[in-house]
């Protein structure tokens, strides 16, 4: 009996495989926006990312290759098992053609494997780890908005050039934090700066005062925050309380979003340096798009949300050009078509799936400089994509080399 069951399953598998050979599967292009809708990353992605994806679909007239576009959403709750379960179900049962966003590196790495195995497309915007186009790269995975390498290089490089010669790292004690720290330290040293010390704090620490005290007594010019989310917010807030920036040391947030600055308030976050892939108030194009985004969500877009828009838009254009949603053909078209929109400037898609585009070094304005809500950044420098991101050879992606 088991043998018969197995044979039946094989037939089913064969059937679904053939359905994907050409044309639009299921007569609809289904985009699954998978992200954190209730937790730490809900504000930087969440429903806003789904709105961004829908805006890209509307721009195409709601149709691609003559078939309707549908956007569905789910909450992975920052759990890799829940996320991979949803991704599998979406692909196996619900006919999802492409999965978008997926903040939280752990969940994104899990989804990357599933999408590769099932041959769909993965448009990564929210996740940070450069491993997604490095040792875990996939022919089906595209990494859009930013990554750890770009953040480390952008901030590290620029701040040493601005005179921040000595660094002290406040590092979240797990893989992501270590990666961010070592990437940044390498850039600092390559530019002639030095690292005077580092302190590792456990993830989700409430009290940073003792770590900040060590950073303060180190006398380093720059305190690099190699952490994320609530840890970054708490360390910045408490740094203000202990008068660290007033005493001449500068804080560099290595992973910080505009929603974090919004939550902190300018009083605490002022003069912080950070690298971002997008700022709403750069020119007329970004302002126009961000305004219609704000009309739908009530907030300005983060670089993650803008990245989802840009990636989905490019994907849909590729489907249009290929005339099918079969992943291999679409991926080929995505690599061939030029990428250019209000988000992706001077952009180029590398064979490992990394989108190289201009990044920006920003300084958070003081309350006096800010003209109102969401007027938070002063763009200090535009960092060319080639300078910010790892080249194909550096990425360590085994399949694309």
């Amino acid at each position: 009996m088991i043998a018969r069951l197995l044979a039946g399953a094989a037939l089913v598998a064969l059937g679904t495989g053939m359905a994907h050979a050409q044309g639009i599967s299921g007569d609809v292009v289904r985009i699954g926006v998978l992200n954190d809708r209730s937790g730490l990353y809900a504000d930087l992605g969440g429903e806003g990312s789904a709105v961004a994806a829908r805006m890209a679909a509307e721009e195409m007239g709601g149709k691609v290759a003559g078939k309707p576009i549908e956007v569905i959403v789910a909450d992975h709750q920052n759990k890799a098992d829940i996320g991979s379960n949803i991704a599998r179900q979406w692909i196996d049962r619900d006919g999802v053609d492409v999965i978008a966003d997926v903040p939280n590196s752990g969940v994104a790495l899990a989804v990357q494997e599933i999408v590769r195995e099932k041959n769909r497309i993965f448009l990564i915007s929210g996740a940070a780890t450069a491993a997604l186009t490095g040792k875990s790269c996939s022919p089906n995975g595209f990494h859009w908005a930013y990554d750890t390498t770009a953040l480390a290089r952008g901030t590290g490089n620029a701040m040493v050039k601005e005179g921040g010669q000595s660094w002290f790292f406040l590092t979240a004690d797990y893989a992501f934090g270590h990666q961010l720290e070592s990437d940044t330290a390498a850039v600092v040293k390559a530019n002639g700066g030095q690292v005077t010390g580092t302190v590792r704090h456990p993830l989700n620490t409430q009290d940073f005062s003792s770590f900040l005290l060590q950073a303060q007594s180190s006398g380093a010019k720059v305190i690099g925050l190699a952490n994320a989310g609530g840890d970054t917010i708490n360390s910045i807030k408490q740094a203000a309380e202990f008068g660290i920036t007033q005493s001449g040391q500068q804080l560099a947030g290595l992973l910080l979003f505009i929603t974090d600055v919004h939550a902190l308030g300018l009083a605490s976050a002022q003069d912080l340096m950070l690298t971002t892939g997008f700022y709403w108030d750069m020119d007329d194009q970004t302002r126009a798009w961000s305004e219609s985004f704000e009309a739908k969500t009530g907030t300005k877009p983060t670089m993650v949300q803008a990245g989802v828009y840009s990636a989905v838009r490019h994907y849909l254009k590729a489907v249009e050009a290929a005339g099918t949603d079969e992943a291999g053909a679409v991926a080929r078209q995505m690599r061939e078509l030029p990428v250019s929109d209000m988000f992706a400037r001077n952009a180029k898609l590398l064979p490992n799936g990394r989108l190289i585009h201009d990044m920006y070094l920003a300084r958070v304005k003081t309350p006096a400089e800010s003209k109102g809500a969401w007027d938070y950044y002063e763009i200090v420098r535009t960092i060319p994509g080639e300078e910010a991101y790892a080249s194909l050879a550096e990425s360590g992606c085994p399949t694309a080399n």
């Binding site: 890799a80 829940i82 939280n104 494997e113 992501f176």
Partner: protein, 325 residues
């Protein structure tokens, strides 16, 4: 009169007169389990089975010894990490990987149990919780666990070098066999003389002591057995989902298994499995809605504790008037 938490146990099924009925029921259940993947999504079913085994293992402690462990996630997740690491990095076959994970959970169970059984009741719960939290921080900081990312892309490989587990039906039947094995072990333990002593400890520990039983040793063995089977469930889950992550070692996970057991019926054989199936289904369903999952789970917790302490299976057994063995 003071009723205790072991009250659920009073609904336990087990009379001789209905043995043929139970045989038929068992056969039907087995048939359902065998054919389920044709109707339902196999990955979902495997998740249910893993959690069902986890809950049954947990129930061995709460339902039959009366000890509430709030740290079982440590065994579940710890085993998941070890087997994922063994399979992915050392390249061992799936069955060896699962065995290694399960053995790790057994050792952890021995250490935890040795520390925790010095205290009873609430203290026991808090100590297991604190110990598990330590494992959580270790899992976060040790290099081999991959921190927040967990261990990803664990290859399912070939069982005994023969059966390709990448086929979801093959994987499903493997998980089913593991579950049935674990369930059989629990059933055997409960109905053995060893199980009788455990129940005696649950009902009245001083009396068991005065009868000459070294209750601490019995409790420790039960704790290790429960931890081992929880580890087996965790290791299997790591193989099914091809990953081990921090979720599995959080205290919320320890809370979830308490809920599954409470909802299904503490001290009943099938209750925890029913509870696990319900909770997993509910989580799957809620993930697609706007309702916040934790609020619903919390509300079920409160309702169970206030008005539904026997749990579903316990309640059914009680209504049917089945006497306890």
């Amino acid at each position: 009169m003071v009723t205790d938490i072991r009250d659920g146990g009073r609904g336990a099924v087990g009379t001789a007169g209905t043995s043929w009925l139970r045989l038929v029921a068992g056969a039907v259940l087995l048939l359902v389990l065998l054919t389920a993947p044709l109707v339902l999504y196999p990955i979902f079913l495997m998740k249910v089975l893993c959690f069902a085994l986890f809950a049954c293992a947990f129930n061995l402690l709460i339902g039959y010894v009366g000890l509430l462990s709030f740290g079982h996630a440590a065994f579940f997740g710890g085993a998941a990490y070890v087997s994922a690491h063994a399979i992915k990095v050392w390249g061992v076959t799936p069955e060896i990987g699962i065995l290694l994970g399960t053995a790790t959970a057994a050792v952890m169970g021995g250490v935890f149990g040795w520390i925790a059984i010095r205290r009873q009741g609430i203290y026991f719960a808090m100590i297991t919780l604190a110990l598990a939290q330590m494992i959580y921080f270790l899992a976060l900081q040790l290099p081999f666990t991959g921190g927040e990312d967990g261990i990803q892309a664990v290859p399912r490989g070939h069982l005994f070098g023969l059966i390709n587990l990448n086929n979801s039906l093959a994987m499903y039947y493997t998980v089913l066999v593991i579950f049935l094995f674990g369930f059989a072990v629990i059933r055997r333990a409960v109905h053995s003389p060893f199980g009788q002593v455990l129940k005696a400890i649950r009902e009245n520990e001083p009396r068991a002591v005065s009868l000459g039983y070294r209750t601490d040793q019995y409790k420790l063995v039960a704790f290790v057995l429960s931890a081992t089977l929880a580890g087996l469930a965790g290791a299997t889950k790591a193989l099914v989902f091809q990953l081990a992550s921090l979720t599995d070692v959080t205290w919320q996970m320890s809370g979830e298994v308490v809920l599954m057991t409470l909802l299904g019926g503490m001290g009943t054989l099938f209750g925890p499995a029913v509870g696990a199936a319900l909770v997993v289904t509910l989580q799957n369903y809620l993930a697609a809605t706007q309702l916040p999952v934790t609020v619903v789970i919390g509300a079920i917790f409160v309702i169970c504790v206030l008005v539904f302490r026997r749990g579903i299976v316990g309640e059914i057994a009680h209504r049917l008037g089945v006497r306890k063995a």
